[in-house]
Symmetry: C2
Subunit: 345 residues, 2 copies
């Protein structure tokens, strides 16, 4: 496995598991020879799926996990009780260093709680945010925190900004990414208490390209590469983004079916429109990384198909090869140590 | 003026003032004979605009105000210093009872601050939220608070829910409106501290039809008639709504111009598409009401044209005729008095 990125994949998580998950894993090892996959889950079911494909068999192994955590379960209880679930077993492999990354389409809450309780945080990291990649007019933006921490303190947002910047620069490849904080105006005096307290801290950071406040209206325009906010606001943004998009497209499609004239028109515009809507499909970038853990944890959509699972697995290679966690440790770990030293002195 | 609704209109506020504002006022008195308009602003300019139209002249009067508040000014300073501005002069007419409502397309901050400092709050109302009417798949939803109060307490959200419910039922005419709180999941344990503390209070209210949490994704689907949140979250929702919509439509339009085939298709679908997009234009409902003041204050878009100004003025008639403030006073004033009595005892 020398030099290869080892990715554990939760074969039981997601609406289409294990079928699409296993298929995505097979596609990943076929597409990229720098990745090694470990599937965790009920071995019999996983092997039955694997049996459908021909692939380099030494590149996918199966680690049995007898339990499955569902999205209906309370995350903390589920992680504590189901020690032999695919999520806990998978994250233990991360903790032990046997794997570099963990990918799951299962319960977001359980993946987050498992990340903190099983894999563990990098020293100095106060909170681990979920970073969702959202499509914009000009490319893609990292929304961080997109839902892991509903209540945040200014120091949390500062770390989100730093980790988000490292991720966008090194995994997505955007040089000197523009980092902005979600606000209700760009004027100095605008904001709620959290944003007002966070703004001066972000301005003083030397290791990120902080561009100030961003209004929600500018996010779809690609007004920043990293958009920082608390997890409540981020989750509202993420879900409204999906909601407005799908309602608008749905209503347009309906209107196109309303007359013979518009039906003919619809046939003519179909190819052009398809390309445009594809641009607004973020699944090509893989899943949402949970930043600040020992190892990379990637949460893909609950409805993820093989293609998204495959992209999520391949995304982990860059993460490992670019040494993202070492970079996070170098920047944030040092600050944390300095802070601790100061407190001790 | 017996029985008529008297609406003061800030003739100097907005990007297109005084031209479109005066035109909108003229349209309002032409359309509806139950309204009387007072225009506040620089008399010479206002009269010059009025001179362009023929209209029942006894239905529009002008009250001179020598100063204008711009959107660049700090609201509190502007309201305190510019005592002879169109906003302050107009809101004084509300305070004195000479007018029932005040409509402005000017600085949102100044209109809000003026509402609280000049017109004054109904006794018992802790905070006055801005209620924006946002278009949905099935109609229109009141988003309250859409930006007036960035930081809120649970008791504020409870009053927003009650005032919003009264507004939607009586002004927009939705029977027993469904009231929901913005949340990041519908499960019991979801939410930030504010939402978790507010949920049990809303559940215990008997005078509203509270349906629980709503995820942002469901807002464009028309999942609730009144959507309650703090002003920071509400402003993010309002602006993202506009942003996603305009970027998506802009990108679709661009793609339609990309080939001859799609251009012909675009011509064919134009009528059907136009009807659909009009459905998503909330300007037909008028402006955003600022709830809980002595008299109605309506904030229209800074870019409001005559049509939106006219609709905002006409919206005030229902507000007055349905006795909204009396209803707010009856429900919330009573609760406030009970609370005060308890505290005194």
């Amino acid at each position: 496995m020398e030099g290869k990125t080892v990715v554990v994949v939760d074969a039981m998580g997601g609406d289409l598991a294990p079928v699409e998950i296993v298929k995505g894993a097979v596609e990943a090892v076929q597409k990229n020879d720098r990745v090694q996959v470990i599937l965790t889950g009920i071995e019999e079911q996983v092997r039955a799926e694997l049996g459908k494909y021909s692939y380099p068999e030494d590149r996918i192994s199966v680690v049995h996990a007898s339990e499955v955590i569902t999205t209906e379960e309370t995350p903390v209880m589920a992680i504590r009780r189901k020690k032999d679930s695919s999520i806990v077993v998978g994250q233990k492999l991360l903790k032990s260093g046997e794997a570099d990354a963990f990918v799951s389409a299962g319960s977001t809450g359980a993946v987050l709680v498992g990340g903190n309780l099983v894999a563990g945080r990098i020293r100095g990291i106060e909170r681990t945010p979920l970073g969702a990649l959202i499509p914009t007019k000009t490319g893609v933006t990292l929304l961080v925190d997109s839902g892991a921490n509903a209540d945040c303190r200014p120091s949390h947002l500062v770390q989100f900004a730093q980790m988000g910047s490292i991720y966008m620069e090194n995994v997505i490849g955007i040089k000197n990414p523009r980092v902005a904080i979600v606000n209700i105006g760009v004027e100095e005096e605008k904001g709620n208490a959290l944003v007002k307290d966070t703004l001066p801290l972000l301005k003083n950071l030397e290791n990120i390209n902080f561009t100030g406040s961003i209004e929600a209206r500018e996010i779809p325009n690609g007004g920043a590469d990293v958009v920082v906010c608390d997890g409540f606001t981020g989750n509202v943004i993420l879900k409204l983004y999906e909601g407005v998009g799908s309602v608008l497209i749905g209503t347009i499609k309906e209107s196109l079916m309303s007359s013979l004239r518009s039906k003919i028109g619809a046939l003519l515009i179909k190819p052009a429109l398809k390309g445009t809507l594809k641009k607004f499909d973020a699944s090509q970038y893989g899943g949402a990384p949970l930043l600040g853990l020992n190892g990379l944890v990637v949460k893909t959509h609950g409805s993820a198909t093989a293609n998204e699972v495959c992209n999520s697995i391949i995304q982990c290679i860059t993460f490992k090869e670019q040494g993202i966690n070492e970079k996070i440790r170098a920047v944030l770990g040092r600050e944390a140590r300095t802070k601790e030293d100061k407190e001790e002195a």
